[in-house]
């Protein structure tokens, strides 16, 4: 799979790589992202946010804002007609701050005005009096007795315990380690935005970029005090997601303003506001102890993982469960003591980001695997292979892995890739950092590192995970054509392409259209957890089977009525002429489809059939490190991943490239710097994401080992590439430098002779720009 997958097939079937149906619109600028929406006479919304991470609101005066010409509404929490809080798992987050502030950037008031700058300035005229309090900024300290509570009931969001085997197991060789993961941002390029339009029936129509229309709708309706049927959400074009659109941002706010003013209201965050407008990846503090036999077999793992959930719950409980259940990695370990904690602090709220709890743990357990291999004087790949999980292995939860788990094979594939050529020492362009350095690469050293990962696909722990699809087959201009309607969010992953491929394959028709995603049909669940092709793809396949069954019944076929029976496509089975005759009236089916159920974890032992499917990927990283300048260049990534069935090989390849880019970012550059609860770098000048110069060549092996439980045998592909790419790169840097790196992202100062203190203490250059010193990020007068 190293050559580009190019096809001229437009009307592709499963396993082809047809062009994206929205591709032409996306390259011509016609594709309407949520930020592009426009209605004549619409107003613009703006948000006033707290500059303090923890404070009491002692006064709020909106008169200055209300008096400004062009201002149509100024709203505070008193204007929320329904539930004043919202949240994915528990409604603990105020729509607008009620009497206290729990994180910097918390929304306090809203303005609607006839121009975005007027709205922004009016927000600056709102006078808020705060009584600042010392923020609770350290996650482990938040668990200490006597720590101030961020919420009533204490700071522990969830403690997940996993116990397997003998908790007191002993081993010949023991290694321990403490690891830290910084706060990563999804940094999608299309900031939060949407357009709310009040309706004549007292409801509201919202056009927004999101990942899960129906949970948005339910939360919006609750806070508006409306019946959910009166809140209609249509997916606007999504400029990237990566987890950051699973929680609400401007949805309730825009609807409040629209209903209050009776006018359409658009909200569109700036880049700076976007850094405060969505949850981030949880920072983690992890302690691991691995015990191993002298022969190199893992005997036990003990670990605790503390995840900083920030000020509100978001999806922290599920993140903690992932870290716990996946936290020893894809290895067979008979004895496990694992404790994973999600906690409240006054840091920015954290929730979903690609990898979702598996990322943090993977850095911990893979760092430990290297450390143990070194202790045993074993090759790191050989040590991993010796302990690798396989089909039939038992997870620490007691769950048996009942489909392919080719961990050893994936590791061998990346190990056996030919190494990239040695650096041309005469060519300064090949240096980490490029040609403009103050040295000529005299201290550049190369290293190789490995990582392998496990990720659950779909929602876990007994969650009722389903999707709804409607497929309609009818004659259009005398030709059979199919329409597919779901509420599943296309976020760039290519879901609309795959759904068309499924319909073409199942019904044998060429003309397929995917209708806009909206809430007039049942929920599809979220475009997250690598689940949408699995679950909504499964729903579309099931709907196609019902349509086929209806048509076969019309034709008097005895196979009709058994949709589980899968005859070939209709065009082949009945003949196109027959199909036209059968479609005198349209055939339509709406199906709600579920994957096999999961079960909750036992709260005492963490035992249970918690996950639907597991996915695996391996990475080998080759890096050049300049140990004088602290610069890293990732020279190449070799990866291998089992995708079950490559529904669209070109799209799979794109997911793998993209995941590697984000994993590279976490390894060496991406971190929201938070000091005392205050974000120091909310801009793309100071929050760095990989550029085209940072992206290494990718050598890719794709396995297709069908999962018998999944539609078409497919395995979710979106997240695994983003998980073990990070520890592989860090292992390569360790290999090059010999420095025992325990914190990501690795910074330049970690790699040079003078080691700095750990922790987010950015140099003064990090305090930058227009809004320095960043105590009042949204004050328009600054």
């Amino acid at each position: 799979m190293t050559a580009p997958t190019i096809t001229s097939i437009r009307a592709g079937r499963i396993g082809d790589s047809p062009q994206r149906p929205d591709g032409r619109q996306k390259v011509t600028g016609e594709f309407a992202y949520s930020s592009d929406l426009w209605l004549d006479g619409m107003l613009w919304g703006a948000t006033l946010r707290s500059p303090h991470p923890r404070a009491r609101i002692t006064g709020l005066d909106i008169t200055g804002a209300v008096a400004m010409p062009g201002v149509f509404a100024v709203l505070t929490h008193e204007d929320v007609p329904g539930r004043e809080t919202y949240g994915l798992e528990r409604p603990d987050q105020p729509v607008l701050a009620i009497d206290q502030i729990r994180y910097q950037g918390e929304p306090v008031a809203l303005v609607a005005a006839d121009h975005p700058e007027t709205a922004r300035r009016a927000a600056g005229r709102i006078r808020v009096s705060y009584r600042e309090e010392p923020p609770l900024a350290d996650a482990r300290a938040a668990l200490a007795p006597g720590a101030p509570s961020v919420h009533p009931g204490g700071n522990l969001v969830r403690h997940v315990r996993v116990r397997r085997g003998d908790p007191d197991a002993r081993a010949a060789v023991v290694v321990t380690g403490e690891y830290e993961v910084g706060m990563q941002d999804q940094a999608f390029l299309g900031p939060e935005s949407g357009l709310a339009v009040p309706a004549a029936d007292g409801g509201v129509d919202l056009f927004v970029a999101t990942q899960w229309l129906h949970v948005d709708r339910d939360q919006v309706a609750a806070s508006l005090g409306l019946d959910p049927d009166l809140v209609r959400i249509t997916l606007g074009g999504v400029g990237g997601a990566f987890g950051a659109r699973e929680d609400l941002s401007m949805q309730i706010h825009a609807c409040l303003l629209a209903l209050h003013t009776g006018k359409p209201v658009k909200m569109s965050y700036s880049r700076e506001e976007s850094f405060f407008g969505h949850v981030h990846r949880h920072p983690a503090s992890m302690r691991y102890e691995h015990g191993c036999s002298a022969g190199g077999r893992l005997v036990y793992v003990k670990a605790d993982i503390v995840l900083d959930g920030g000020a509100y719950m978001s999806s922290s409980p599920a993140v903690a469960a992932n870290a716990a259940t996946l936290g020893i990695g894809p290895y067979e370990v008979p004895n496990v003591v694992m404790d994973s904690y999600a906690v409240y602090t006054n840091n920015p709220p954290c929730g979903a980001m690609r990898g979702f709890g598996a990322v943090q743990a993977c850095f911990g357990y893979e760092s430990q695997m290297d450390k143990m291999a070194a202790a045993l004087s074993m090759d790191p790949v050989e040590f991993r292979v010796r302990n690798a999980m396989r089909e039939g292995s038992v997870m620490p939860t007691g769950q048996v892995v009942d489909s392919a788990a080719p961990v050893a094979e994936l590791l061998r594939l990346v190990r056996d890739r030919p190494p990239p050529p040695a650096r041309d020492t005469g060519d300064l362009r090949s240096l980490p950092g490029g040609v403009s350095n103050t040295t000529h690469g005299e201290a550049v050293v190369r290293g190789v590192g490995y990582g392998v990962s496990i990720k659950n696909v779909g929602f876990s722990e007994g969650f009722d995970d389903y999707s709804t699809a409607r497929v309609r087959l009818e004659l259009t201009g005398g030709e059979p054509s199919a329409q597919v309607h779901t509420a599943a969010a296309e976020v760039g992953q290519g879901l609309v392409t795959v759904l068309e491929q499924i319909v073409r394959s199942e019904l044998g028709v060429e003309r397929v259209a995917v209708l806009p995603a909206d809430t007039t049909i049942g929920s599809a669940g979220s475009s997250s957890a690598s689940r949408q092709t699995y679950v909504t793809g499964g729903a579309v396949r099931a709907a196609c089977a019902e349509v086929r069954s209806q048509l076969l019944a019309r034709a008097g076929d005895p196979a009709a009525g058994s949709p589980g029976n899968r005859p070939p496509g209709l065009a082949g089975a009945a003949g196109l002429g027959d199909l036209v005759a059968l479609l005198g009236k349209p055939a339509e089916a709406t199906v709600t489809w579920r994957h096999r159920p999961t079960a909750p974890l036992d709260p005492g032992t963490g035992q249970g059939q918690a996950h639907v499917q597991y996915a695996f990927a391996a990475h080998r990283a080759v890096v050049d490190v300049d140990t004088e300048l602290g610069l890293v260049k990732v020279v190449e990534i070799a990866t291998a991943q089992d995708v079950g069935k490559a529904m669209n090989p070109q799209a799979v390849e794109g997911q793998i490239h993209g995941g590697i880019a984000q994993g590279l970012g976490l390894a060496v550059m991406e971190e929201i710097q938070v000091a005392g609860g205050v974000v120091r770098n909310p801009s793309f000048t100071d929050y760095l994401i990989p550029t085209i110069l940072d992206m290494p060549p990718v050598r890719l092996d794709m396995l297709e080992l069908a999962d018998p439980h999944a539609p078409y045998g497919l395995r979710g592909v979106g997240e695994p590439p983003a998980i073990s790419s990070t520890p592989a790169i860090v292992a390569a840097i360790r290999d090059a430098t010999g420095i025992p790196l325990t914190r990501i992202p690795v910074r330049p100062e970690h790699l040079t002779a003078t080691q700095p203190d750990e922790g987010p203490d950015p140099p003064s250059a990090m305090i930058m720009g227009r809004n320095a010193p960043h105590r009042v990020p949204f004050d328009p007068r600054s």
Binding site: G29, G240, A241, A651, G654, A661, S683, F684, P690, M695
Partner: protein, 179 residues
Amino acid sequence: MTAPEAGDQVHTATVTLTVNGESRALEVDTRTSLLDLLREHLGLTGSKKGCDHGQCGACTVLIGGRRANACLALAVAHDGAEVTTVEGLADGDALHPLQDAFIRYDAFQCGYCTPGQLCSAAGMLTEGGPSAVTADLTGDPALTPGEIRERMSGNLCRCGAYVNIVRAVTAVSTAGTEP
């Protein structure tokens, strides 16, 4: 800095631009960026606002054939200029070769950076001259993958479609050898 008080006099000016071949004259607030002029006054929303600070490149357009971040360009400073946006790359229904290559090589996922990537690539193909990675400084350099990466490094893509962006641009820059 003090923001103007409400009721302060707003200074406007007439700006005449040729946008995608069409002459447009507008009266705009003198503080209007070229990006806001395109998006909010002309309804050309293809150019994207990813950061509004010149950090991401999603707003890249061609001004007089040269690449520029429209968010950093003050509209009044470009009176009389010829501006090409992503909406102006195609020739009627015939896509620009770069647009076609981006689709065929799957050089995007969400597509939000794509208008900027395309305008940046279109400008790069014709701009010539050496870059920081050009080995031979005589004549226009060949657009090797290394040259393309160097010259496209001002355009962020968070979906990480970089590998395929290089493939797509390479295919166009070596057109004729491409099937």
